[in-house]
């Protein structure tokens, strides 16, 4: 019995000392591409951080984040979960066809009421512009048949019905569900690896918007694939893998020769002549190819001879939708309340928008607490 126990002891010692030594000699990483997040760095050491325990807490995170072969261990863990029958991880479902979907969780009722009240007050304050609300359903409600058997998720349809019913009549509700459902079988409306909708889905939404908003001279578009190696946020969030990476498409309009526009990122003091940041295709989050990601405020001015100017209040679902709007307006101003700290009323009064569009996906909207703050700014 002795030799065998000695070997066991030897293996154990090799294991813990080996990994400890590897951790010691391996340089720390700042960022994890697999998890798409910054990794914890060595915590500040002082009497205060020790006494309040924050040093120890951070140290636990640091040791786990900088652990040798962390990515390999993560894959192993996911493999293990799948093996034991798990189809869900961090609120992400792994569907039968290998695509990933975000679960919709029961929204907070108080927040719902407050957000609704803020929107109503805002629309009552500004009677001038036409207002539209586009609440985009997520993959779970467009492709419910793909969900793993019995997988629980809240009902998005009921949520959208309720919201559109509660919305003041002065805001026009853009219900995309019929159009999206009709196209669902032939068109991939959501990325398999990411929580966003595809540009194809955004085009369907734009056609719907076009009708309601009375846009007539929509140019023909050319569809082209600009990337086919996109592995999105749902993969990094859940640890699940997808059978194949996603493709990102864009629709380039056939514009008249003399049409041009500028995109200004006011807070960043940047000006571009295109909606697309192709540099971002070299990075992990390739969805950022649309406007380089989210910004507090984007101001797009076009050479169109028109009186119509639009304000879009939105989340990241709008990013691939906005390029369709550009040829239709004299100016498009885009506010993302999650990052916007200025006074919306100053903006409203100084710019005299003719149209205001709210564009959110259900998952983000149900959890969002920033919209009500931004809209309430004046009170």
């Amino acid at each position: 019995m002795k030799w065998y126990r000695r070997i066991a002891g030897f293996l154990f010692i090799i294991f813990i000392f080996g990994l400890a030594a590897a951790a010691l000699f391996q340089p720390d990483r700042a960022y994890s591409p697999a998890e798409k997040r910054n990794l914890t760095q060595f915590p500040a050491l002082s009497l205060r951080t020790i006494a309040d325990g924050s040093f120890m807490d951070r140290m636990e995170d640091y040791a786990a984040d900088q652990f040798p072969l962390r990515d390999t261990f993560m894959r192993l863990k996911t493999r293990l979960s799948i093996l034991r029958g798990s189809v869900e991880s961090q609120g992400v479902y792994r569907c039968e066809d290998g695509s990933l979907m975000e679960r919709f969780d029961a929204p907070d009722r108080e927040n719902y009421k407050e957000t609704l009240a803020a929107i109503s007050a805002f629309s009552a304050r500004y009677k001038g512009p036409d207002m539209y609300f586009m609440l985009v359903p997520n993959a779970v409600s467009v492709y419910p048949e793909k969900l793993p058997a019995h997988a629980p998720t809240e009902d998005q349809n009921a949520y959208i019905d309720r919201f559109y019913k509660d919305l003041p009549l002065s805001i026009r509700a853009l219900d995309l569900r019929n159009d999206l459902n009709a196209a669902a079988a032939d068109t991939q409306l959501y990325y398999a690896s990411d929580h966003h909708w595809t540009t194809d889905a955004a085009l369907i939404a734009f056609m719907n918007y076009k009708k309601t908003a009375g846009l007539d001279n929509v140019p023909p578009f050319h569809r082209s694939v600009i990337a086919n190696d996109f592995t999105g946020s749902l993969v990094s969030e859940s640890g699940f893998s997808v059978p194949a990476p996603d493709a990102i498409t864009v629709y380039l309009p056939e514009e008249p020769e003399d049409f041009y526009y500028t995109v200004s990122y006011t807070n960043e003091n940047l000006r571009r002549a295109s909606c697309y940041e192709t540099e971002k295709l070299k990075e992990d989050d390739k969805y950022q190819v649309f406007f380089g990601g989210n910004h507090p405020i984007i101001e797009i001015n076009t050479s169109l001879d028109s009186t119509r100017s639009l304000l879009v209040i939105k989340d990241s679902y709008a990013n691939c939708f906005l390029p369709f709007l550009v040829p239709e307006y004299r100016s498009v101003t885009v506010v993302d309340p999650r990052y916007y700290y200025d006074d919306i009323d100053v903006l409203m009064e100084s710019r005299g928008f003719t149209d205001v569009l709210f564009l959110y996906n259900v998952n983000t909207f149900a959890e969002d607490t920033n919209l009500k703050t931004v809209l309430k700014n004046a009170q």
Binding site: R5, R6, F12, A20, A23, A64, F67, M74, R84
Partner: protein, 460 residues
């Protein structure tokens, strides 16, 4: 610090083993004491001074008791009162004030005092020392370092087993290390780690999912939740004890077993001989037997049992559901002793009754409050026209069916017997070693990816 963390397994433990094995015999207690203090301070940077005070106090009381034979009893009473006062203040003060306020309609200020980790465990060890010293079981420990090392010894400091000084006093000065012993301890540690990380945490996720469903759960979901907690607490706590025993072996200590397949018991009485054995032993030794045990009249015996179980319940936490849970077991034990034992029942039936009683017990134990516990019970027994099985229950069953089967298998002695058999058969040892390595790698994978996994027994 918890055993199932990256910092423990890959920083603290390697450093500890290195220092401990390199330092000569004489210095080992000091190394153990200093490292144990660091281990404790990692989780309780301020309360470590409370523990130091407790060590100093009980050490001093021991010396005093030996010096003043005549005043031995007074010194004992004084030190028991002080020890109980400390634990009483830090653990029960808020509960006491809340209830006084409620009963007498007072408004005494309630101050939320954070519970020092492991206070229930180390105070009970200190009490065993002063009480047994008074009884003349051994001489006072004159070496402060050895005494401090006994109280703080990190393998069992924060979640047991509760080691009585009497059982370990010789080992404080005389213990032997060897490669084989290190390996034995490592194997035991790996088993414990796997129980905690691979089974308890996993099945705990099922319990949390059911909790999150709220009051309107189907009957099957409610049962799955209760079953999940039953397994979670067993693998969590017995896993911790395995790790403690394994670490003890690595450091040359022998700790007694704390669990012996409790879910295989054939009565509630038997269950408590197999569950958290060191706590049961402590209460028997220092409360039940001093009260007269069972060698008294029936009514007095009933009283003794209820007192012991009221205290056992309270030991687990300052809240009414622990009180209820303790008394529930007191009554069950009395019922078994005075009624059930006179009826001959088939063993399988007795086992089923035991496990049923234990699962119901855990419902009270795991609930946030008594009303919540009754709400869960109502769901388990189909009250209010709820669905028996719903989509959610099917989903949970599908996601956790396999883990539940694993948990059931590893709860029973068969798994243990299989392990022992593998150890004895020369040809099966290599596969067993491989199995241990796989468990270690899988456990590490889970540790690295889950930054948050507290032990249940830290609350006590």
């Amino acid at each position: 610090m918890v055993f199932s963390s990256v910092t423990f397994l890959f920083i603290f433990l390697p450093v500890t083993l290195l220092l401990y094995y390199l330092v000569p015999e004489k210095g080992k207690n000091l190394v153990l004491l200093v490292l144990s203090l660091i281990f404790y301070a990692w989780g309780e940077p301020l309360y470590v001074f409370l523990m130091l005070y407790s060590i100093l106090f009980n050490y001093g009381m021991g010396l005093l008791m030996e010096k003043h034979e005549g005043a031995k009893k007074q010194i004992l009473i004084f030190s028991v009162i002080i020890n109980l006062f400390i634990i009483g203040f830090f653990k029960y003060y808020g509960f006491l004030i809340e209830n006084l306020n409620a009963v007498f309609r007072l408004s005494l200020p309630v101050r939320k005092i954070a519970l020092p980790i492991g206070i229930s465990f180390y105070t009970f060890q200190a009490l065993s020392y002063v009480i047994d010293l008074y009884r003349g079981r051994f001489k006072a420990q004159k070496n402060f370092i050895a005494f401090g090392a006994y109280i703080t010894m990190f393998p069992q400091l924060i979640a047991g087993p509760i080691v009585r000084y009497e059982d370990i006093k010789d080992q404080m000065t005389n213990r032997r290390l060897s490669g084989a012993r290190l390996g034995k301890g490592a194997l035991r540690f790996i088993i414990g780690l796997a129980k905690k990380v691979l089974l308890a945490n996993l099945i705990g996720a099922l319990f949390n999912e059911v909790q999150a469903l709220g009051a309107e759960v189907s009957t099957l979901s409610a049962w799955l939740g209760a079953l999940a907690y039953t397994f979670q607490i067993y693998f969590d706590f017995s896993g911790y004890s395995d790790m403690a025993i394994g670490l003890g072996d690595m450091l040359g200590f022998h700790f007694s077993e704390n669990f012996k397949h409790p879910y295989f018991a054939d009565s509630v009485t038997d269950f408590w001989r197999r569950w958290h054995i060191s706590l049961g032993t402590w209460f028997r030794e220092y409360v039940y037997i001093p009260l007269g045990g069972n060698r008294v009249k029936v009514l007095r015996h009933v009283f003794n049992i209820l007192v012991v179980w009221l205290l056992t319940g309270l030991w687990h936490g300052a809240s009414w559901n622990f009180v209820f849970w303790g008394l529930y077991y007191g009554l069950l034990l009395l019922f078994e002793k005075y009624i059930l034992d006179r009826i001959r029942l088939p063993k399988i039936l007795r086992r089923l009754m035991m496990i049923f009683a234990v699962i119901i017990g855990w419902v009270f134990f795991s609930a946030e409050s008594l009303p919540q516990a009754f709400q869960t019970l109502a769901a388990m027994f189909g009250a209010g026209g709820r669905a028996g099985i719903d989509e959610t229950a099917r989903y949970l069953l599908k996601s956790y069916g396999l883990p539940l089967i694993f948990c059931a298998f590893f709860s029973f002695p068969a798994a243990h017997a299989l392990l022992n058999k593998c150890e004895k058969e020369t040809t099966l040892r290599v596969p067993l070693l491989l199995f241990a390595v796989v468990l270690l790698i899988l456990s590490t994978a889970c540790l690295v990816t889950q930054n948050y996994n507290p032990f249940l027994y830290f609350r006590f």
